[in-house]
């Protein structure tokens, strides 16, 4: 009989879910068990973490979800990590944010956060302070949120004449659609001529 290693699976799931976390319900569904059992499994993982001081992560329960987080004791090192970034490069968060703005400008912070799934205040600050983006207006509607766009410095920096020169994104949806459709059509076509 195959033994399912719940701890291992749970750790994988929580790890990949990141800051989003997973609810007990989601976990139960994915693991195909009931919530009581899911809860037990979580408790087991928690205990394993607690008793093994070599772990640097813990299980926390936040806003109805379970997620992994770093151990508080290690905070000083995380601080050093944040402080030390080779100041010459942008963090991935900043690069992601910049990409979204470059391709979707003008865009509000809320829309960016919608795409990234995480708070984006800091990357925006960084990008504004590096003059790669700027506020280009206000959105219609309530709140009249700021709209962000790229700057002339952005173009200079990346050696572009205009934003139109940005490499095309894979017209993902559309392309895949056409391709899939063609494949599907062909598959069925084969079935037909074969029948």
């Amino acid at each position: 009989m195959e033994i399912i290693n719940w701890s291992s699976i749970l750790e994988s799931l929580l790890f990949a879910a990141g800051d989003e976390g997973l609810s007990l319900k989601q976990l139960a569904e994915v693991l195909d068990i009931d919530e009581i059992k899911a809860n037990e499994i979580i408790e087991v993982l928690k205990q394993e973490y607690d008793k093994d001081e070599n772990r640097g992560i813990i299980v926390v329960q936040l806003a109805g979800t379970y997620q992994l987080a770093t151990k508080k004791e290690n905070a000083p090192y995380l601080k050093k990590l944040v402080d030390s970034p080779n100041n010459s490069t942008l963090s991935q968060a900043a690069l992601e944010t910049l990409a979204i703005i470059a391709y979707k400008q003008p865009i509000t912070r809320a829309e960016i956060e919608e795409i990234r799934g995480v708070k984006t205040e800091r990357p925006l600050h960084t990008l504004v302070s590096k003059a790669l983006i700027k506020e280009v207006g206000r959105a219609e509607g309530t709140g009249r949120a700021y709209l962000y766009g790229t700057t002339k410095e952005f173009l200079d920096y990346f050696g572009l004449k205009s934003v139109n020169e940005l490499p095309k994104l894979p017209e993902k949806v559309e392309d895949d659609y056409i391709q899939e459709e063609a494949d599907l059509f062909f598959e069925k076509f084969q079935e037909t001529i074969n029948s």
Partner: protein
């Protein structure tokens, strides 16, 4: 928009040639040109009949094959006539260049195959987005320093985001995709039409927008027409199309 079906089975004429060579279990270093050329042209003809786009490169290679074939058919007079011409008239095999290209291409096709399995393997590992560490940041405004990133770094970050995002979506709706067969859809349509005892607007035969359903329905209708189980009429160009079950008593059975 007309349906443009692209043939994915082959990645170009060299790929097709390689395939023929494999299929006929031929030695790549000693290709029977006549046979290969015939097969190759047959393929092109079929594509043509199926009204599929044939990239011009296919025709270029077809011409090359024909050229090689004719060269190989030519009697080799030179050997007899000027016997004193030495080594370098040691006939060059007209196939050499093509064979070289095929072998070179095959290497990369194999390498692409390796990449594919690496892609799959890598796809089994999931990573997580960087944690939000803003709580740890002292609020110093980063000064304007020289950056050391390129456009590609930005694109790469964006790609990571796209890949990652898939995991974040809540798993709220997960509809089991049902495979519908053409046969089943044919029966459905026919039953529907028979019950109606009249004609039905073509468009109404496509109740679900899901594309596989649309395609299957469309093919089912074609097949029904072919089997003379339904009639289709259209009053004028671009007019509405109506479909009706054939009333004749005996069902036309059998293929084609």
């Amino acid at each position: 928009m007309p349906y443009q079906v692209k043939i994915d089975a082959f990645e170009g004429p060299l790929d097709l040639l390689l395939h023929l060579i494999n299929r006929l279990e031929i030695d790549i270093y000693d290709i029977p040109v006549a046979q290969i050329t015939e097969q190759y042209l047959l393929y092109i003809k079929t594509m043509n009949e199926l009204k599929l786009d044939i990239a011009s490169e296919y025709l270029v290679i077809a011409a090359t094959l024909l050229e090689i074939k004719s060269k190989m058919l030519l009697p080799k007079h030179e050997e007899e006539t000027n016997e004193n011409v030495d080594e370098f008239s040691y006939e060059e095999d007209p196939r050499d260049e093509l064979v070289e290209r095929l072998i070179e291409y095959r290497k990369y096709k194999e390498a692409a195959h390796d990449l594919k399995s690496m892609e799959e393997e890598r796809g089994l590992m999931y990573t997580k987005p960087p944690s939000d560490l803003s709580d740890y940041v002292k609020d110093i405004r980063p000064e304007k320093t020289e950056l050391n990133v390129s456009l590609y770094d930005m694109l790469a970050a964006f790609q990571k985001l796209l890949r990652r995002k898939k995991l974040q979506r809540p798993m709220a709706t997960k509809i089991a995709r049902q495979e519908i067969s053409i046969e089943k859809r044919m029966t459905e349509i026919l039953d529907e039409l028979k019950q109606l005892k009249g004609r039905k607007n073509f468009n109404e035969l496509f109740p679900y927008p899901a594309k596989d359903h649309v395609v299957v329905t469309f093919l089912a209708i074609l097949e029904l027409i072919k089997r003379k189980e339904v009639d289709v009429e259209q009053q004028e160009n671009f007019g509405e199309i109506f479909v009706e079950a054939v009333k004749k008593g005996a069902k036309v059975v059998g293929n084609y």
